[in-house]
Amino acid sequence: MFERKPMRLRPVMVLVVAMLVLAACTSASPSPSGTGAAELRPVRLLLGFRPDVQFAPFYLAQQEGYFADAGLEVTIEHASGGELIRLVADGQADFGVADATDVMVAKSTDIPVTYVSTLFQSFPVAVIGPAGTVPAEPAGLAGATIGTPGQFGSSWHALLALLDAGGLTPDEVTIREYPQFNQVEGLLAADVDLITGFRNNEPLRLAAQGVDTELLTIDEVAPLPGPGVVVGDAALEDDVAWVEAFALAVSQAQQAVIDDPDAGLEAAIEAVPTISEDVDTARTVLLATVELWASDLDIPPGFIDADVWEAGYATMEHLGFIDGSVPLEDMYWHAIRLE
């Protein structure tokens, strides 16, 4: 009996040991989601100058797993235009959000950076002024004193494009520069008649001061491509699928914010708690921003409108910002395609 008992117990013991080993292996090995987390590719993303509700799609993509589903672990940081493009081009950051017109200039000066998807289908910069003072046509800007941040960036490109569309040169207006982006204060102090600014920002700030505004936009007279996602050329050549995955995640998150702006607002508040100090203004800014993301064409968020780029490239070359040495097709690359 003593000899047979072990024999009878052996299959049971083997089974128990096997189950224990299996359980140990199961608990020691990562779960399917854990495996995914371990394989996420780290991404350093540079957004604009400072955290803002306008970056809601990126916050939402980070919080709701759009990036993780694309196999990306995104760290969001902020940088100014010149620094941002250099860091992305050099590979010190993986992606950035930059003005398309800046990309044209940077690319023309041998900085290896490429625009891969569009955030703003409408050009966000406009000439802004108190109601009744803004001319309906660019030619009406003659003689005006206009405040703008400086001789750089999309505001400068838009201002010169508008003046040119009106048959004017910068000498035919008085330009006052506000490098600290405080041109609203200049307008309120009556130092200038008009200012350049973002359609989803400065008019709202002026409205908060009780000033009704009018805008002279550029889309109809001299189209320029709006800000979008940029990547370094080396990264793009190295792994196209990676760039496509990132752009698609951003596009999906942008669509989610378009469909439900409050979801975007909540994501922005979670990422940037100070936004909750003035939720109404943040919501107004986000809604105005969503309008600028929209296109008249039936295209998904992120899609690059080649016609706008062609027109913008011609305008930038005509104004002397670029010399045409880098062909248009090298400036951008479609990370988001029409199905």
Binding site: S80, G81, G82, I85, R86, A89, D90, D102, V105, A106, T109, D110, I111, G150, Q151, F152, G153, W156, I175, R176, E177, Y178, P179, Q180, N182, E185, G186, A189, D191
Partner: protein, 249 residues
């Protein structure tokens, strides 16, 4: 030290600096848009001078910093004398002066630009504010450092207070005062750039912004930075020459 030896040392120092710079570029394998080599910057400087890019910006910064320094130094010396001679003035004004010095002028500059309607006046005010503090403090310390026996002797011989200040205390304070002027004159260049970043269409600070964010022309940005450094060195040299001429050794 002979003049030839001094020039040789200066040339060696410059050559060493350029060699280290070049070494960093080569070892770090930095692209031109991150860190251009000295040769690239030199070539860009020649281009910027030949095509007239640099000169108007240099002239504007030169004007702002010279006037700003002159205004700031003059007011600072007068206030420094007042602080040195009146304990009440020191007790009343010092907290404000120190507090004003602790406030970052970069934050105030855009407001000053709007308060003064922009233009040269606003930029001179910003520059003068930055220059003011070290010179005022140096003046006060220098005057207080005057030998009290000499002051007593001058008064005993019938010198009026203004005569004591003009003929005894100020000359006695010159070595310390020039220390403040040396600091102040280099700050004048920084003050001019800060003022230009608050609001200007021309100036080396504006050129830095244009090169950095407008043209993405890093070599041109280094040309502007180098020009600012040369301007500071020149101002410093002028103050040093004045010091050698006025302060007995």
């Amino acid at each position: 030290m002979g003049a030839l030896r001094r020039i040789g040392l200066a040339a060696l120092s410059v050559a060493g600096f350029l060699a280290v710079w070049q070494l960093i570029v080569v070892v770090g394998d930095y692209p031109e848009y991150i860190l251009p080599s000295p040769a690239v910057v030199a070539q860009r400087a020649v281009e910027a001078i030949q095509n007239g890019t640099l000169q108007p910006h240099l002239a504007a910064t030169l004007e702002e910093s010279v006037i700003g320094f002159a205004v700031g130094a003059t007011v600072a010396i007068l206030v420094g004398i007042m602080l040195a001679k009146s304990l009440t003035a020191e007790r009343v004004l010092s907290p404000y002066l120190v507090a004003a010095q602790a406030v970052p002028i970069l934050a105030l500059a855009p407001l000053i630009d709007i308060w003064f309607g922009g233009g040269l006046t606003a930029r001179v005010v910003i520059c003068a504010l930055i220059v003011f503090f070290p010179i005022a403090i140096a003046t006060m310390v220098g005057i207080r450092g005057t030998d009290p026996l000499l002051v007593e002797m001058a008064r005993a011989n019938g010198a009026r207070s203004s005569q004591v200040t003009r003929l005894l205390e100020l000359p006695s304070a010159l070595p310390v005062l020039f220390g403040g002027l040396r600091v102040g004159v280099t700050l004048a260049v920084i003050g001019a750039v800060v003022a230009e970043w608050a609001g200007a269409s021309v100036g080396l600070g504006v050129l830095i912004n244009i090169a950095d964010q407008g043209l993405f022309d890093t070599p041109l940005m280094f040309v502007a930075l180098g020009t600012l450094a040369l301007l500071g060195l020149t101002f410093y040299g002028v103050v040093l020459l004045a010091e050698r001429a006025l302060v007995p050794r």
